[in-house]
Each structure stands twice: as C-alpha cells, then as structure tokens.
C-alpha cells in the first residue's frame, strides 16, 4: 500500500504509487497518464500511443495495483519480446507487484508460477503471443488466470495491425480472443510507434469502443544526424573516432547482421573501446543488457534483437551502421537514447550495401502463391505428416521461407496445416489455400512505401526530428533546432581521417575469414555411401577449419574476384598472392593441393589451385571428379536441397593419403566442401582443409 495515509481519492493513491515507484516525492503524472489509468481501473479499454519513456508501463502497473487493491484478479500481459518482459518485471517490482513471466527460458519456474497463480499471488502474468496456442498453457495455466482476469495488457499493440511495421502473425490470436474478454475486464494496449492508420486498425481490432490516449512523439534531448558513407571502412573509422573521443556516456550501435555485429565489435575493441556484440544467439544477453544499464560497458553492437522495450534513461547515443528498414523502426531504435538526459545523439549512416539489403527485405516480405502452393501440395500428397526437414527435401525453398508459409497458414482459421508432435499435416483446407492476394499486395505496398520513406529521410534537407514525427502522424511536429539540418552541419565535417579509414580497410582484410566445418548433415541417409550413414558426421569424416580470402561484405575485394570469375579469366596475381598469404598465415602445412571441379568451367578453379600449389611449392593432385552435372548449387534454396544436390555428385579418383588443401573460388553453405572432405577422408586422407577466395555466408 502507498505510504501516504488516508488518501482521499483514487488519484491520490495512484499518484502515491507513482512516487513510490520512481522514488521521487515530487513526481507528477504526465499528460494523459492518469486519464489512461482511470479508464483501465474503470474496466474500460484504452489504447495508449505515447513515445518511449513517457511512462506507458506506469499506466498498466499502477492500474493493476489499483485493481488488485479492489480485489480484482491478476493481469495477463502479452508482450512480444523477452527484453521487454525483463524491464517490465523490474518496473512491477518497484511497485510491489509480483510479475511473473512464462517464457521458453524459465521452464524450471513454471511449476512455482502455477502454484503462485493458484494462491492468487501473481499480479501480472507475462507471456508471448505464441504461448496462447500452447496446449499446456490453455489447460493448466490459463484457467487459473482467466477465471478472474483483472486486466488484459497488450504491449506493443501495433503488432496486432498488419498495416504496421512490426506485424506479428501470432498477434492474430489476440484479435480473435479479445472479443471474449468479459465486461468489467479492462484492456490496456500500448505502443510508441503507430501512425493514424495503425491506430485506427488497432482500435478496430480491439472492438472499437476503446479510448485512445495519444501524445507528442518528440524527444527534445535528441540531436539527429545522418550521412552517407558508402564504404564500411569509412563508417568503421568514423565510429572509432566518435565513440572513443567524442561521445559521452554509453550507447548502442545497430547493425543489420550478426556478421556485421562481430566485425564492428572486434574493430572497436581493437581501438580500445569496450564494445560487445549482441544478437539473437548471444548467450549472455541478459548480462550484457545489465552491463549497459549500469554503464559498465561503453557500447553494445546489436542487431534488432536488442529491440522494443530496452529502457535505459541515460543512454547517450545510438549509431546506425546501416539503415534500418523503415522510418518507424528508426524512430523506435533511436528513441532509446536521451529518455532521461538532456543531450543525446542519433547518428544514421548508410552505405552501398544498404539498398540491396532493403530490396531483399521488401521482395521477400511475403511468400508468393507459387511458393505456398508448393508447400501445400507436398503436405497434401503426404500420406501422414511431414517433418520440416522432410518438407525441405521435397520443396526447394529456403527453410525460413517454408517456416514462414507454415506459420502464416497455421494461424488461419480454419487452418490449412496443423502441427502435431513436430510434424506438419495438411487439413481439408489445404487444397487451394491462399493468403488473400489483396492482403499480400497491400502488405508489399506498405513495405515498399516504408523503404521509400526511409530513403526520403536519409536525403531530407529539413528538420530530421520533425520528419520522424510527421511520419508517425504527430500533429505537434515542428523544427527541433538541434539536428544536423537545423544547425547546418556539412557532410565534410563527418568524414574521418584518411589514415583511420586505411587502418579500418586493412582490419577488414586482415581479419581471418573462417570457414567452420559442418558437423551434421541436414537429414539422414542422403545417399547409400557410408559418409551419409548417420546424420552426425563422424569426426573422422569432417573437414578441418578452413579459410577464405574475403567475405562478400568486403566489397572491393569480393567484387573484383566475382568479376574475374564471371569473365572466366585467370585470377589476377594480386588476388592469388593475397590468397596464398592467408593460407600461409592460418592454414598450417599440407602435402597436397586439390580442388572442387566446377559444373560448368573445367579450367578456372584448377588454374587457381595450380597457381596456389606453385606458390606454396606443394603437389597438385586432380583428386576429385564429378560423377554428374547436378543442378546449380546456388539455385538450391535450403540445406537439405543443397546437401541432396551434391550427395552423389563427386568421386575420388586419386587418393590423397596426407593432409590436403581443397580449393574452390566461392563458398556459401559449405555443403560441397563438406561432401568432398568426407569423401577424401573416407578414402584415407587424414586432414582436409577447405579454402576459398570468397565466403558468401547465407546471411549475406
């Protein structure tokens, strides 16, 4: 209970909760905050559209507290991301609420949570929307909550709208379920990033009779800058200069891929900056978040995995190494800085690779009807169900593509596919299933417009903050007087020193481009050959760690190599020398050099191997032969197709009984190397080291 004695109104109690929560006896509600709480406590529906840091969390935590005081049941909160939940747990804790989350990473706590729910000790139960379909959740957890639900909280409610930039298919469930929420049970939906169209859509989805609390989205502390830097080396150089010497406090560098996160992190570390990479697979995400919160580290180099809900009021800068996919995403990300301080900075850089990546995301936002038909047909023709790997065997589509189709289809009602015990089954609805073409078209248009708007923003000559606000239909938008354009800063002033750029370029080139060994085949029994007997590739058949001269993002080098490859000319001495230098430095010694014979060009790779053998002064062996042409490996869209395509494509015609270097010009999935290495090793070769000129990892 609040420390204030005998509060004479609900608002006084609420205000005291606010003060207790933020630890300030003078704290006051922000515009619209109390009104939203009042709506929720009265059992009404409210949509809160306010900027990050405004205090949306306060609305539903204080509302929950007041409703619990009145004897209502717990709140059920649906939130899309773990990072959000962790912050919300903390916020609830400050208010004396017991907030528990049931997520994939705390299964060991679920039984305790069930007991606490039964004993009415949980005030807020937090789940992701995916859990709404979980049978155990429905049968065991939900009844203990739903029978006396006090409030339904939908965080990041813009995800409910497929007009939105962050539409999440699983939020479709909420759309349908909210209709059953009984009278007197409040719904609080919150978002920081919704334009008018999304607000209207969310309002419709939540039943129409919903109050909207909308405020200004301006963040006055933020100074926005944007500048075009085509080369990664220039951007790296600028960041090292800026972070090391000019930016106070701590911040975040946003990158688009994990590879970029690693590259940028290592570069910054090499400049004595305390930088750490953060992405989906990072084990110590929670620790890194805490370290940043406590200013124990200078900068996190993160993908969008560090997304919605990360709340650090004194975060002083956000740098975008590449451009985000939309202005709204940008607003969301840059808006993490300067929430509780007077000066913060947002730098948006973009390079030559950005447009290609943006196009890729627009083109691949939704599966085509042909792709949907392929998956449905495979499932329909199966007598029973199919595992994902079996589908990948039957359908030449990317794994992520197949998963997306299955996800979208399984959320339809009635669903054309269902998942039972890790198998996918067609239902009677699969035949002729299509996602309405107008819906797909509409969504593609949304993505294309977002891309266009992002480009407009990057080239905008007026106030940058005003542009962002207007993009979100904030009627209070006006010039900020702080951004690059408002203060007339020139492009020249952002350019780093040439020496630093040179250093960054060398760093990119010198960084070993490791080709990790593939340790398991994507499915069992790819062929009758003993190397395919088990799915796990025995150590005796595995390739060693390999190396590539460069990666695709090393634009200068990789483009040069690919051009020579296209022209089927000799690789230049410059390239071969650089390649041999990498091999000498990282790959140890070999007795033989061999190569992967190409499908279409009989001479190109052998000549490269020959040149390498001469420079290393070791024997070239024409060890591997093609048994058939097969299909173009680059056209195989998923690991199963790629493995299948090369499973029977090679044979060993000359044995290499001592350590051998296997050369190819371009490597992507590594499945060809893996197959050839396994065959060589099965034939008695004790060590096989793959080496290639360009490593084009699939994420690039």
């Amino acid at each position: 209970m609040p420390s204030q004695k005998n509060p004479d109104s609900l608002k006084d109690v609420a205000l005291q909760y606010l003060r207790d929560s933020v630890g300030s006896a003078d704290a006051q509600f922000r515009d619209g905050q109390w009104e939203s709480i009042q709506q929720a406590v009265s059992g009404n529906r409210v949509l809160v559209v306010q900027r990050t840091g405004w205090g949306k969390t306060m609305v539903y935590t204080i509302s929950t507290k007041l409703r619990r005081d009145q004897g209502a049941g717990p709140s059920l909160m649906i939130s899309p991301l773990l990072a959000l939940m962790r912050n919300q747990e903390t916020a609830a804790f400050h208010l004396g609420l017991n907030a528990r989350r049931m997520t994939g990473d705390n299964r060991e706590e679920w039984n305790d949570i069930h007991e606490e729910l039964r004993d009415d000790q949980v005030d807020i139960l937090m789940i992701t929307p995916e859990r709404l379909a979980n049978e155990m959740f429905l049968s065991k957890t939900l009844p203990t909550v739903a029978s006396g639900l006090g409030m339904l909280i939908i965080d990041e409610a813009h995800c409910i709208s497929d007009w939105g930039h962050d539409f999440r298919p699983d939020y479709l469930r909420i759309r349908r379920v909210q209709k059953m929420v009984p009278r007197g049970s409040a719904i609080v939906a919150t978002t920081a990033t919704a334009n008018n169209r999304v607000v209207e859509d969310v309002r419709d989805q939540l039943g129409g009779n919903i109050q909207v609390s909308r405020g200004s989205l301006v963040r006055r502390s933020l100074q926005l800058h944007n500048f075009h830097m085509p080369k990664p080396s220039t951007r790296l150089a600028w960041m090292a200069w800026a972070i090391a010497d000019h930016l106070p406090g701590s911040g975040i560098v946003y990158v688009l891929t994990r590879k970029d996160a690693d590259l940028v992190t290592k570069w910054l570390q090499s400049k004595d900056i305390d930088a750490h990479a953060y992405y989906g697979d990072t084990q110590e995400r929670e620790e890194l978040e805490k370290a940043l919160l406590n200013n124990d580290i200078k900068v996190l180099v993160a993908t969008i995995a560090l997304g919605m809900g990360f709340d650090k009021p004194d975060l002083s800068f956000i740098i975008h190494y590449q451009r985000p996919s939309s202005v709204i995403h940008y607003y969301q990300q840059v808006g993490r800085a300067g929430r509780g301080i007077t000066d913060a900075y947002g730098f948006l850089m973009w390079g030559e690779e950005d447009e290609r990546i943006a196009d890729y995301f627009v083109d691949n936002a939704f599966p085509s009807q042909d792709e949907i038909d392929l998956v449905m047909k495979a499932l329909e023709e199966a007598d029973g169900g199919l595992k994902l790997a079996e589908l990948m065997f039957l359908v030449n589509l990317k794994k992520s593509r197949i998963e997306k189709i299955l996800k979208l289809a399984s959320l339809e009602s009635p669903a054309p596919v269902i998942n039972e015990r890790s198998q996918w089954f067609a239902t009677g609805e699969a035949d002729g299933f299509q996602i309405p073409p107008d819906r797909i078209e509409r969504l593609r248009e949304v993505r294309a417009k977002e891309k266009l708007q992002m480009r407009e923003y990057m080239n905008h000559q007026g106030c940058l903050m005003k542009f962002l606000q207007q993009a979100l239909d904030d009627e209070s938008a006006k010039d900020c007087g702080r951004c690059r354009n408002c203060i007339n800063r020139t492009h020249q002033s952002y350019l780093p020193k040439p020496a630093m750029v040179q250093e960054a370029a060398q760093f990119i080139q010198k960084k070993p481009n490791i080709i990790p060994p593939v340790v398991r085949w994507p499915i069992r029994r790819l062929s009758d050959h003993p190397i395919h007997e088990s799915q796990l590739i025995p150590l005796d058949y595995q390739a060693a760690w390999g190396y590539a001269l460069c990666r695709m993002f090393d634009v200068d080098m990789s483009q040069q190599i690919l051009e020579q490859r296209r022209n089927r000319s000799h690789y230049s001495d410059e390239i071969v020398d650089a390649f041999v230098e990498v091999l000498r430095k990282h790959c140890g010694s070999f007795r033989y050099v061999t190569y992967i014979p190409s499908r279409t060009d009989q001479h190109h790779v052998p000549r490269l191997a020959e040149a390498v053998a001469q420079r290393l002064d070791i024997q070239l062996v024409h060890s591997v032969s093609r048994t058939g042409m097969g299909k173009r490996q680059g056209d195989q869209k998923n690991p199963v197709q790629r493995a299948r395509n090369v499973a029977n494509a090679f044979t060993i015609v000359h044995s290499c009984k001592m350590s051998t270097l296997v050369i190819d010009d371009v490597i992507s999935s590594g499945m060809t190397f893996t197959t050839v290495a396994a065959l060589l090793r099965y034939d008695g070769c004790p060590k096989v080291v793959p080496a290639a000129l360009v490593y084009r990892s699939l994420s690039e």
Binding site: P143, A146, S147, L152, V177, S413, P414, A415, I418, G428
Partner: protein, 381 residues
C-alpha cells in the same frame, strides 16, 4: 465460419468443459436452469447479468459460486474456441439452427446442450444406416460389412457408426474407399482426428462428419459413452446390429435403445452361427434376421424416414426460450420443467466427476433375458 450466438455462448460457459476448478453443469442441472429461464421469459444470454444468475441459482438450488466460476471462464473459452476454430472444430448449441433436427426433436430435453464436430455438419440431418455392435465383431462379418458399406454408398445412404474400434473403423475405411458418406461419433477428443491423406480428402469433399458430445478440452478418460448409442439410433433411418458376445455396460445400454427403437426403425440382426440371447430377443421384438444384402434392400433398409415425432413426452426447456428454433418444433409440451431431473443419466453430474454416467434402469426385456440376468446384478446394482 461458425460463430457462437449469445445464447449458445452462455450455455457453453455453463455446460462445456474448458478446464477450471468448477465442473460444468450436468444435463439435468442445465435443464433446471433452462426451465427457470422459460418461466421468467428469459433467454440464456440473460444469464450474463449477475442478478439474473443469482436468481437462477436461488431458484434451482445450484451453487452460485459454481455458476459464477463457470461463467468467468469466458476468456478461457475464447482461447479454446480460437484454437478449435483453427483446427476446424465447430460447436453448436441445442438452440442453434444447425443443431441436428432429429436429435433436437426426438431427444428434446435429453439432447446434449452442446455438440462438437468436425466436417460437414449437414450430414447430421441426412439420416442413414447405423452399423453398431460390440467390438470387435466376429471376423466372419468383415466381408459382409464391407459389402454393406458399399451398398450404402450406392444407395446414397450415410453410414453411421461410433468409436475407434471395429466395426466403426472397418466401415469408415470402406466408406472412404468407395466414396460414401459417413457420420462418425467419437467418445474421445476431436483433436485426435485421423490425419491420413484418404481421411483428409474425404473430409475436404464434405463426405464425413465427426461428432462428439465431449469438449475437446475434456481431459477425463472414458471407455465409452452410453449417449453415443442413443445419438446413433436417433440419427439413423435403419439399424444393422452386429451380434457379439462381448458384454459391456455401454453395449447393454445401446441394445436397450435399439430395443426401444424397433417399432419405429428397421433393425437387421447379423447373428452368425450362434445368436446370443440378446439377438434372439431383438428378433422376437421385431428385428429382422439378416440373410442377404438384397433381402435387406427389399425389406426397406434404405427407406428414408421422415423426421420422427419425439421419442418421449418431454420437451426441451430451452427451446421455449430460443427464438432461433425451427418452426416445426412442438412448443406445447413442457413437462420437463415439472421434472427437470428426468435426464440425470445423460451427462456426468458434478459429483460423479470422472466416473461413468449411470444408465437407466434395465427394461423388462433385459431383466428377462438370461444374458441380461447374468450381468444384471453386476451392472445395475
């Protein structure tokens, strides 16, 4: 896409299993509420009003906490319905227009308040040939059974059977092969429907409907449900009774229902070499001993019956509070309100929890049969 009416939503909240601490209302309990509603000239949807629910509780003696607890499952039900709809499972209430006409008009107050199904619900009004018997039937029947199912398909007569054992499974396999239509009554969860390609194709072509009186969320184990036998006999035009020696309470109950149906529906008995005493008694009561398929056709096995008058004199209380009911329903007979407990055996009461429902007292027919006597003490004590 089906949607729940406000009335059926309230009925489902009270009667359907969605997990939770309170047991859903048994049929007789729900009928008590329905009778009270009728008296008050109210509809089930009015129960959303707490004062209405309180009055209903006072008048029927049903615990208000229990009724409120059941009603508070609204969100829980929303999540379940969302999942069921996604899986193609539908739910219809006794007052809904889609509710099978024969079940409503013949069983009336004994009709389950809520039915769950997958597939083509219109088949439930198609009549058809019931194929029932203790499982497994003697192997000598399997060929005749297949032939009969094919004949049904040729005569466009829907085959109706129940359970996940033979003869239902044999009949359904043949029906799928020959493109016939099928009503399959299940005692377990509809979530466990088969997902094989032939089954999926049959479902997609609208030739099968699965029907259950049990909520797919009901986790309780049951070995059989006597009301399935009642539903089969109600839905069919004629019956093929496959004789067998296996005794079970459910089978006795179904045999009893067949006995009662014989005056109205043609019943053919497959007895094999040695007829059981039950088969002999059924034949004495008018069942036709099976000889050949052709004889059965001549004897009228495929005659479509008009919708039959109620099998008893009881009316369905909530029919009178439901504005959607078809016009042909007899509104005049409301004796059930005077004796709302008459149907106590139809659904588990909250006190019986996981136990099987208790059947009716045996008829004189069963008491008299030597076969009936041998198990009577055990089953009907």
């Amino acid at each position: 896409m089906w949607t729940l009416t406000e009335d059926t939503t309230e009925v489902a909240l009270l009667c359907a299993w969605f997990a939770g601490e309170h047991h859903p209302l048994a049929l007789h309990e729900y009928n008590a509420i329905a009778s009270w509603l009728k008296h008050q000239e109210l509809r089930p949807a009015n129960l959303i009003d707490p004062s209405c629910l309180e009055e209903a509780s006072q008048s029927t003696g049903l615990d208000l906490d229990r009724l409120t607890g059941l009603q508070n499952r609204r969100i829980s039900m929303g999540f379940y319905l969302e999942e069921w709809k996604r899986r193609g499972i539908w739910m219809i209430g006794r007052g809904d227009e889609d509710y099978p006409v024969r079940i409503r008009t013949q069983l009336r107050s004994k009709a389950p308040p809520i039915l769950y199904g997958i597939g083509e619900s219109s088949l439930l009004n198609s009549g058809g040939t019931a194929m029932i018997g203790p499982s497994p039937p003697a192997s000598e029947y399997s060929e005749s059974l297949s032939g009969m199912v094919r004949l049904c398909a040729e005569h466009q007569s829907t085959v109706i059977s129940a359970g996940k054992l033979s003869p239902a499974t044999d009949a359904i396999e043949t029906s799928i092969q020959c493109g016939g239509t099928f009503i399959w009554l299940l005692q377990g969860s509809l979530l466990a429907e088969p997902l094989t390609k032939p089954f999926r194709d049959t479902k997609a072509s609208g030739k099968i409907v699965l029907l259950s009186t049990r909520s797919p969320a009901d986790p309780r184990f049951v070995s059989g449900e006597p009301e399935l036998g009642q539903l089969i006999i109600t839905l069919c035009d004629s019956i093929i009774h496959i004789d067998g020696t296996e005794l079970s309470m459910d089978w006795l109950h179904t045999t009893e229902i067949i006995h009662q149906a014989i005056p109205k529906k043609k019943c053919f008995i497959w007895t094999g070499h040695f007829a059981t005493s039950v088969a002999e008694h059924l034949i004495q009561c008018g069942a036709i001993p099976w000889s050949t398929h052709e004889d059965a056709v001549h004897a009228g096995i495929f005659e479509r019956l008009e919708d039959l008058p109620p099998s008893d004199s009881e009316s369905s209380p909530e029919e009178l509070v439901d504005s959607e009911k078809p016009s042909y329903i007899d509104k005049g007979n409301d004796s059930a309100e005077e004796n709302p407990d008459h149907a106590e055996m139809d659904l588990p009461s909250p006190d019986t929890k996981d136990e099987l429902p208790v059947t009716d007292e045996p008829t004189e027919f069963l008491k008299e049969s030597s076969w009936g006597n041998s198990v009577q003490g055990e089953l009907f004590a």
